[in-house]
Amino acid sequence: MSLTLLWVGMALAKPTGLDASIGGIPADLNTPLQSATLTVTLDVEMRPVDGISMSRARKVSTHFVLTPMQGDPVPVEASLVNSPACRFRVPLAGPWQPGSALTVSVVITGDSLPMALDVQLPPGAKPAGQSWRLPAPTGELILTLPACG
């Protein structure tokens, strides 16, 4: 039996106002994890402010598909809409088993950015095609929008 959890992240903007936290693996997920995929979709809008084109995120969403040691895959979704943040953090901690790994993909939709999105993964992540593979996931995935004010 598959279990679908919908978890809407709340923006936890730090006092400097740049950061928002989104999604993550629920703390009450007791099932040991063998592997997972994470897709982060960032819908960008370049909107002029004072005549200068600046980026903002119309919507940021995360979609984890967690594969437990036993049982069916568990999708976990979260989203932020019209967040004023320029940097988005996705917590990666969870009940990971030894030898487990996370495959991370980042999809950008909407307007073209003037410079590449800064994608920061925890140490140990390695490119795998258009994605990254992160063994023994921990820490955070951090996405920083350029030209964001």
Binding site: P15, T16, G17, P84, C86, P114, P146, A147, C148, G149
Partner: protein
Amino acid sequence: MPDHSERNRTTSSSSSRASAHDSTGSGSTSNSEMADVVRTLNEGTEADKEQVVIYLTQNSVTHHKDEIPETLAALQRADNQGMGKTSMIPISDPFKGGHQTGQYAFGEGTAASMKWWHEDNSLKDGQVKIGEEVLTLGPETDTPTDAQVAALQADWRIALVHVGLTDDKATEVIKVLLKNQDGSAKTTASGTGASNELLQLISVLNRAENGEFDISALVLSGHHYSGTSYMFGESGNHEYDDDQKTGDTLDFNDIEVLATVFPKAYSQVDSVMFSACNTHEIDQQNADGEQMSTPEWVQGVFPNVQTMSNWEGIAPGSDFAAFFSGEFMLDAARKESGDQGAMDDAYFRKTRIGDNKRWETGTDGAMTETKIAKNTGSYTYNDYKGYRNTNHEPFYKREDLMKYVLKKK
């Protein structure tokens, strides 16, 4: 359009500035005043000295790739347009990628003789190794013992003399940074992680005080919470390093008290730029304990300041803040070249979540906010590449921009 007439800085000579500061009661002895006069006569006026921007950034993760190169490109543009050459001394933790700024503040030889905790795993935060001697410049914990605090003074003295201060100047620095008014030992107001930036700043102030160059502008960059007295940095994963005692926090109170030790250097400063969030509220009080505005504090610390810039609200990330920094520095050069309206318009004025403010000292001596008109001709966006014409290229890999980074001879 801005006036690009040639810079004329002889209108405010070093000697007239020294007089202005002395009138505020810097505590200089008559002998030192005489020495200043002699030095000024020997060295000539400000127009003869190298002009230098001190760019102090607490955020070492990104600034080498955007804010600093764009500001250097603005200095290059001012030079190319006949406004005179101004150089920069960057001050920072080691940038992400390893480039260090100690060589610019201390000189290559002195910097090479010092190993900081960033580069020697045997050292703790706030420690520096000179020869075989390990010096501790900041406490390890939020609650250092009295003995640990007292020991800091001896280590700071060694470090200060090593980077070029005389014994007397080192004593003065220790008196203001590491002693309470009753003479008891205290830690610096800045955190342990900022001890290297603080030592670099002191070294540069000492060089300016001794007449090596003139500080035309001071840039203070980093993160800042509203209503606090310190700017701070971040570690490589964007985690804020903001513990006031042990973190990478540079405190405005330390910058203020050093003015009594380096009065000539502080009196040289024409422009101050805060490239940090919420710098309209920096938690500074006057002698009566009343909150001071940022321009009030700046005028109190830098007696000859003419222009100032700060952020009300959230400043953008370094990639976008680069444009504000570059434009302010270019406009400051234009103003010093005689264009009194240079600050009155700007391409970059605000973002969605923050307003960049400009302030100018009027003929009545008061610093008031400048109403900034929109002028897309005042600077360039250049498809997000600015005047440096690149994205994310470190300044130290740009031979053309490195001509504007001052290297200690």
